[in-house]
């Protein structure tokens, strides 16, 4: 298993995963808006249409609800569609098919069917696309039993988790932060999977656990590096999957460090941070907490256009450093 490891971008890693999946299984195909000759709004599908043809890299009309429903119907009848939303914001148009149909079909039919659809959602702010093209809606879908919701943070995970998603018998929703697409990292050639439902400890530390998702993982790591010089030793847990959540990894980490901070880009209230915090408060790790839990999340506002405002609405590295310092040193 000495697969050749290259530096690939996050987008390239996803594209490679989709190509491998299509090579391995004729039931796998891609659907989405402008994913063919255009290559996808973020060039994730790239030239796949030239390699696999328009029958397997299907441009849909601008019909998010219908398109998602077609993907669900195809999955229900044996296919393995990978459906790309052009922006995760457009998932709001397709909530019916995602929430009422894909998530519940197996349950409503008493286990007689499964819906192995994969849906990809380019998400997040930082591109100047303003309020309707910058949201982080993963917690919306994370609230729905029947769905699996993942947020790979690195090219390696993006490829491995997408391949795991294609192999998964249930609907898997992948939230990909748009600013991650161009980030690079080591990616092995060939087929491998990264398990859904398993968090990853990106950095070990003993003073503070930062549970981060998606693009916030790298920000947390940058903050941790800066805090190291102050003698603060941060453990960074990349949640990777928000449903089903890997509770044990977070619990074990908090038991070790006694402090917890959740960092995520989505609006702070009623989000992943609330879930992780409550989960810890309910767990055996509660009796190990030596400080209040802190959440750093997006501001209670739509994402603004102005670049300075846009940055200010989501946690940045200095915000994480300041909050971590206050938490560990107890100056609040």
């Amino acid at each position: 298993m000495d697969a050749m490891v290259r530096e690939l971008s996050y987008a390239q890693a996803i594209q490679e995963a989709m190509a491998i999946a299509m090579d391995m299984d004729e039931r796998v195909f891609l659907m989405g808006e402008d994913i063919g000759v255009y290559g996808g709004a973020f060039q994730v599908t790239g030239d796949l249409v030239e390699r696999y043809g328009a029958d397997r890299v299907i441009d849909t009309p601008i019909s998010e609800l219908g398109g998602a429903g077609v993907a669900v119907g195809a999955a229900l009848t044996g296919m393995r569609p990978i459906f790309e939303f052009q922006f995760s914001d457009f998932a709001t148009l397709a909530m019916e098919q995602i929430v009422n149909q894909a998530a519940k079909m197996r349950f409503m039919l008493g286990g007689e069917v499964s819906v192995p659809v994969v849906m990809r959602f380019p998400a997040g702010s930082g591109t100047g696309a303003a309020a309707q093209h910058s949201q982080s809606l993963e917690a919306w879908l994370g609230h729905v039993p029947g769905l699996k919701v993942i947020q790979p943070a690195t090219p390696y995970d993006a490829k491995g988790m997408l391949l795991a998603a294609v192999a998964d018998p249930d609907p898997v929703m992948i939230f990909e932060h748009k600013l991650l697409y161009k980030t690079k990292g080591p990616v092995p050639e060939g087929y491998y999977t990264v398990p859904i439902g398993k968090a990853d400890i990106r950095r070990e530390g003993c003073d503070l656990t930062i549970v981060a998702t998606s693009i916030m993982v790298q920000k947390a790591l940058d903050a941790a590096a800066a805090l190291e010089s102050e003698g603060i030793d941060v453990e960074v847990v990349d949640l990777r999957t928000i449903r089903p959540m890997d509770k044990q990894t977070v619990i074990d980490s908090v038991k070790k460090t006694s402090r917890l901070m959740c960092v995520y880009e989505a609006v702070k209230t009623l989000g992943i941070g609330a879930e992780v915090s409550a989960m810890i408060a309910e767990s055996e790790a509660f009796d190990y907490l030596d400080a209040p839990i802190v959440r750093l999340g997006g501001a209670e506002t739509p994402i603004p256009y102005n670049p300075e405002l846009e940055k200010a609405t989501v946690p940045q590295v200095p915000d994480i450093i300041t909050a971590a310092r206050a938490l560990v040193k107890g100056v609040r």
Binding site: G69, A74, L109
Partner: protein, 342 residues
């Protein structure tokens, strides 16, 4: 009866479509199934009234010819998506009433092991991908199933049943458009019973006939009297042939009427007793089909009585089966949310 039917068979050339297309035995089977649908729903309604079934249900009494006519040319491999008013579709596609009753009673022997109930009744083994609680929810799914058929070259045809209410949902328009541009083997069947819950199509829909919507998606739009079995079956037959030939989708508007209210909470304030009475007395699909069968010599009174008796027995047995079946264990509430992985 054999003699009578022999005499008539010679003159079948002048008879409506189904009498030319199908054997007497097949047609008697259709009558049996139309009765089975009717009695199943009456039985379910009675059980509901007695408190044996909870929740609600949407009865299709009066629409039996539509369900049977559309499913007539379908093979067991072909697939359907159905609606909240889907009991008739389910039986027409081959489901057993005892397992349907069991589902309505919330029992483990039901088609959905008690998790779905009336509104999610399905029989995947017979190609029924499920009723749907969301108006228009099944239409894009049917298109997806047709995409599978086309990509995997299975030759399957998919029928999407929906009501007049769904024709104003975005999903209807998006799905018809996609089915047309990709020439998918799917048949859109709008069972127009005149009312989306309480709102009449005249008040809700800009076109006079929903079939006219087909023009917008470059597919044939066919209007049939949904209460005349032969008319429905003929339209379906043509649409299935078109789909199997790879020529793409068809929209069939089957004009019909539901005798009962929208659901169990309906007090029928939006339509008159006279209107209901007229449809029940003069345009009942079973009565119409039965008299045609009799008139053309495919059945006699004795044959009809035999069918009614056999149906009554199957219904009674089905209810007994449902009553005797076990309920799910509350400890299994979490089952079937995700695929159990070894």
């Amino acid at each position: 009866m054999a003699g009578a039917s022999k005499a008539v068979t010679e003159s079948r050339a002048n008879l409506p479509f189904v009498y030319r297309q199908y054997s007497a035995e097949q047609l008697r089977q259709v009558l049996y199934k139309m009765y089975l649908i009717r009695r199943f729903e009456e039985g379910a309604e009675e059980c509901y009234t007695r408190g044996l079934i909870h929740g609600t249900m949407h009865l299709s009494i009066g629409q039996e010819a539509s369900a049977m006519g559309i499913c007539m040319p379908l093979s067991e491999d072909d697939q359907i998506t159905s609606t909240h008013r889907g009991h008739g579709h389910c039986i027409a596609k081959g489901a057993e009433v005892k397992r349907m009753f069991a589902e309505f009673f919330g029992k483990t022997t039901g088609y959905c092991k008690g998790r779905g109930g009336s509104m999610h009744i399905a029989d995947v083994g017979k190609g029924n991908l499920g009723a749907n609680g969301i108006v228009g929810g099944g239409i894009p799914i049917a298109v997806g199933a047709a995409l599978t058929s086309k990509m995997m070259k299975t030759g399957k045809v998919v029928v999407s049943f929906f009501g007049d209410g769904a024709n104003n949902e975005g999903a209807f328009h998006e799905a018809l458009n996609m089915a047309a541009i990709w020439k998918l083997p799917v048949i859109f069947v709008c069972e127009n019973n005149g009312y989306g819950m309480s709102t009449s199509t005249a008040r809700s829909t800009a076109v006079k006939n929903i079939a006219e919507r087909a023009a917008a998606y470059s597919m044939p739009g066919v209007i049939v009297d949904g209460n005349i079995f032969s008319e429905v079956a003929e339209a379906s037959h043509q649409a299935v042939a078109r789909a199997r030939a790879g020529e793409g989708p068809t929209l069939i508007e089957s004009k019909t009427y539901r005798h009962r209210g929208h659901s169990k909470s309906d007090r029928n304030r939006y339509r008159t007793k006279e209107e209901i009475e007229d449809w029940m007395s003069n345009r009942d699909p079973i009565t119409l089909f039965e008299s045609e069968l009799r008139e053309f010599g495919f059945i006699d009174d004795k044959g009809i009585e035999a069918i009614r008796g056999a149906v009554a027995q199957e219904i009674a047995d089905g209810i007994e089966f449902a009553k005797a079946s076990p309920s799910p264990d509350v400890r299994d509430t979490g089952s079937y949310v995700y695929t159990e992985q070894a």
